[in-house]
């Protein structure tokens, strides 16, 4: 429930002033380093900049072309698929395992360390390691065949499967990170809540649903938000493993190719602006949803 505070006393006013002065330098720092250069890119998206010297104003031509570009539509669709994958699988695994792990006392840190380990590997390295496992002749398929599970083997990096295979690798890397975030939030839950629930005869699943989830609501919302927003600009894993080949083209790989290989940096800029715009819509949508839920 939002309460309107009509009267602020002196201390609160002082605190607000302190907040403003403390945050302002950080804001200005970030603004100068990130936003202002991005504005420059936004401007270049209105030109036919080739990445070097040619830069003539062409208005919205890039955007008009983008809307009709089949590559763009494919890439955007792939980003949405990616988002769908990451909004479901890693988050569920993270919550379930986080809950399970918080109930374990011995070895908890060891488990946490092992689950987090893949996050520590850089995309280039993980990509190369998994690429060798996806090799049709000498990779996982050989192992599956030896175990008699040949029906599971497939062309992991074929255009139809490439996106999911790369997403799998990124998920392997990512959900440990979510787990750590969730564990931090889970620590904050008052253990007494669980105890009183157990006394009333609640089962594990009920505890999860009625106590855990509501308490970590803020963190989950945060995770959903960053997942959605980062799905739009994800780049490294796809680039390292498939270079954005057909079937796994993303907005970011399309951007890279246009900027650095096709000499169409202005066009690439328009893709970057679209990415920012979509993320902004997601954020705005979230804000509106929250307002509506709170009323």
């Amino acid at each position: 429930m939002k309460t309107m505070i009509p009267v602020r006393n002196d201390r609160e006013k002082r605190r607000m002033l302190l907040a403003t002065f403390s945050i302002l330098p950080i804001f200005l720092y970030h603004f100068g380093f990130i936003i202002m250069p991005s504005i420059r890119t936004m401007y270049s998206s209105l030109t036919n900049w080739n990445g070097l010297g040619t830069r003539d104003f062409i208005g919205m031509d890039n955007y008009l072309e983008l809307m009709q570009d089949p590559n763009f539509i494919t890439a955007f669709g792939n980003n949405l698929k990616w988002m769908a994958l990451f909004l479901t699988i890693p988050i569920c695994i993270g919550i379930i395992l986080g809950f399970a792990l918080s109930g374990v006392t011995r070895g908890r840190l060891l488990f946490r360390a092992i689950y987090f380990l893949p996050y520590v590997i850089s995309a280039a390295i993980a990509g190369k390691i998994f690429a060798s496992f996806f090799n049709p002749y000498f990779g996982i398929n050989v192992v599956l065949k030896a175990m008699g599970m040949d029906f599971l083997s497939r062309d992991w990096l074929s255009p139809g499967n490439a996106l999911f295979s790369v997403a799998f690798v990124d998920m392997w890397h990512w959900w440990g990170f979510l787990l750590v975030l969730l564990l931090s939030a889970l620590q904050q839950i008052d253990p007494m809540l669980y105890e009183s629930a157990t006394l009333e005869g609640a089962g594990e699943v009920q505890k999860l649903w009625h106590i855990t989830l509501p308490c970590i609501k803020q963190t989950i919302i945060f995770i959903i938000l960053i997942t959605m927003v980062w799905s739009i600009s994800t780049f490294e894993y796809v680039w390292v493993m498939t270079r954005g080949s057909p079937g796994s083209e993303l907005l970011s790989t399309m951007l890279y190719k246009n900027a650095y290989m096709k000499y169409r940096a202005g066009y690439a800029g328009s893709i970057a602006v679209v990415q920012m715009f979509v993320s902004f819509l997601i954020f705005a949508g979230f804000g509106m949803l929250r307002k509506r839920l709170e009323d």
Binding site: G53, P159, A259, Y263
Partner: protein, 444 residues
């Protein structure tokens, strides 16, 4: 308490950095910066030694105080960024004449025509190389390395199938060989482009060039009456697709396998042919002798009666000098030095690109036999003038990217051949209209 120590230590670190990390040593000796795109340590060391030698010689000769700043691993993306910023290197590398085109159009390359004449570059380098060095008649870049598309084969499997490479020079013999290999359980042609989509364009370079060199030249140059969506090119793409459909091309996996997979499969004796260029010695030399000796090389057989087997050519890259450099004479001196015979042997032995000159025979002596055979073949072809056109050296950039991306959709039946070729034509014409100047030396 601990926090203070930590924060204090960091502040100390950072202030130390402020002094240590400013490697822009202006005020000291004049700095001359060379940027290369190689990433391997031995290659970088060789380059640095060579450049340092030239700088020292120049300093001695002209009593100057230049110091060399050598940076490596800078690909086209970083070069693009640098050359549009205020932080331009003096000498840098670009990948192809198409790039030279773009850079020259924006006036970023030094016009070196006078130096070229004074230092007799025209006499030292191959004719085709000298024509590639020019945009609009002015010398703006110096090609280095010449590579071509060839066909590598497994000698043992050849013998086993009763085939003789010298006889495989036309389409019929080639398809026969592929069929025999497939029937015997081998993969006829191995290539992998998953992580290096350029591998598709390796084959298409050969096939389009073999469709007709003059045809390709006229089409790219946009001569009236020539279009990509014409019968000869359609026939070629249909041929390529038919090979794919029959499983001849890496068992329909040419865009699923990574380049490593393809190399491994070939070396592991799974395939008869491997499609790769004359840079393959790069991964061949570290193999052990038994595996290496199994590998042979040949020119790709002809696919029609118009063109005989030839070597689709590319340059490894081009040396360029920034138009805003303050040290033109030193730059010209260095570039001229790179054409010298004395350093080519070292480059060859390190698997690096040589200058486009007639390298002395003795420089090739340190190489393994297969590689020597390859160079004989290449040099012979070039001396004849019978070279063809690779996509990455001669085609306009956007057309080129579409060429190797679109073909996968064609192979997957998601794109019709008509649409594919028409779109290529559209892009080609668009780039010509935007000022792309084809530099395609005529071949014999």
């Amino acid at each position: 308490m601990k926090k203070f120590i930590l924060v204090g230590a960091c502040l100390l670190l950072m202030s130390g950095l402020g002094f240590a990390a400013g490697t822009n040593d202006d005020g000291k000796a004049q700095v001359f910066e060379v940027s290369v795109n190689t990433t391997k340590d031995e290659q970088n060391k060789l380059y640095e030694t060579v450049f340092q030698r030239f700088v020292d010689e120049y300093n001695k000769k002209y009593n100057t105080g230049y110091s060399l700043r050598f940076v490596s691993g800078q690909g086209m993306d970083i070069i693009n960024t640098r050359m549009s910023s205020k932080d331009k290197p003096d000498i840098f590398t670009i990948d192809s004449p198409a790039d030279a085109n773009q850079f020259a159009k924006d006036g970023l390359l030094l016009d070196m025509t006078d130096y070229a004449v004074k230092n007799k570059w025209k006499e030292s380098v191959f004719d085709w190389a000298y024509s590639l060095a020019q945009v609009n008649g002015r010398v703006v870049a110096l090609p280095y390395g010449y590579e071509g598309m060839v066909l590598w084969y497994n000698k043992d499997i050849m013998k086993e199938l009763g085939l003789n490479p010298a006889d495989i020079t036309n389409l019929e013999a080639y398809e026969n060989a592929m069929k025999k290999a497939a029937d015997a359980g081998y993969i006829p042609v191995m290539l992998g482009s998953q992580d290096w989509p350029w591998a598709q364009e390796w084959y298409l370079s050969i096939l389009y060039s073999y469709t007709g060199r003059n045809l390709v030249k006229n089409t790219i140059e946009g001569k009236p009456g020539f279009t990509w969506n014409s019968a000869p090119f359609r026939k070629t793409v249909e041929l390529y697709k038919s090979w794919h459909d029959r499983g001849y091309l890496a068992d329909k996996r040419s865009y699923v396998l990574t380049s490593d997979d393809a190399i491994n499969a070939f070396v592991g004796g799974k395939a008869l042919f491997k499609l790769e260029g004359t840079w393959a010695p790069y991964w061949m030399m570290p193999l052990d002798a038994a595996e290496r000796d199994k590998i042979g090389v040949m020119l790709h057989p002809a696919i029609n009666s118009t063109e005989r087997p030839h070597l689709p050519l590319a340059v490894g890259g081009m040396w360029c000098v920034s138009a805003t450099t303050a040290h033109k004479d030193l730059a010209a001196y260095i570039l001229t030095g790179l054409l010298g015979q004395d350093i080519q042997a070292d480059f060859l032995n390190n698997g690096m690109d040589v200058a486009p000159i007639k390298v002395e025979k003795s420089s090739f002596n340190g190489l393994i036999p297969t590689v020597q055979v390859m160079w004989n073949m290449v040099n012979g072809a070039l001396a004849d003038g019978s070279f063809g056109y690779t996509t990455w050296a001669f085609y306009p950039p956007e057309t080129r990217v579409y060429l190797y991306e679109g073909i996968v959709n064609v192979l997957e039946n998601k794109l019709g051949i008509d649409q594919y070729l028409t779109q290529m034509d559209v892009l080609n014409k668009k780039e010509l209209a935007q000022g792309f100047i084809p530099v395609i030396p005529a071949s014999k």
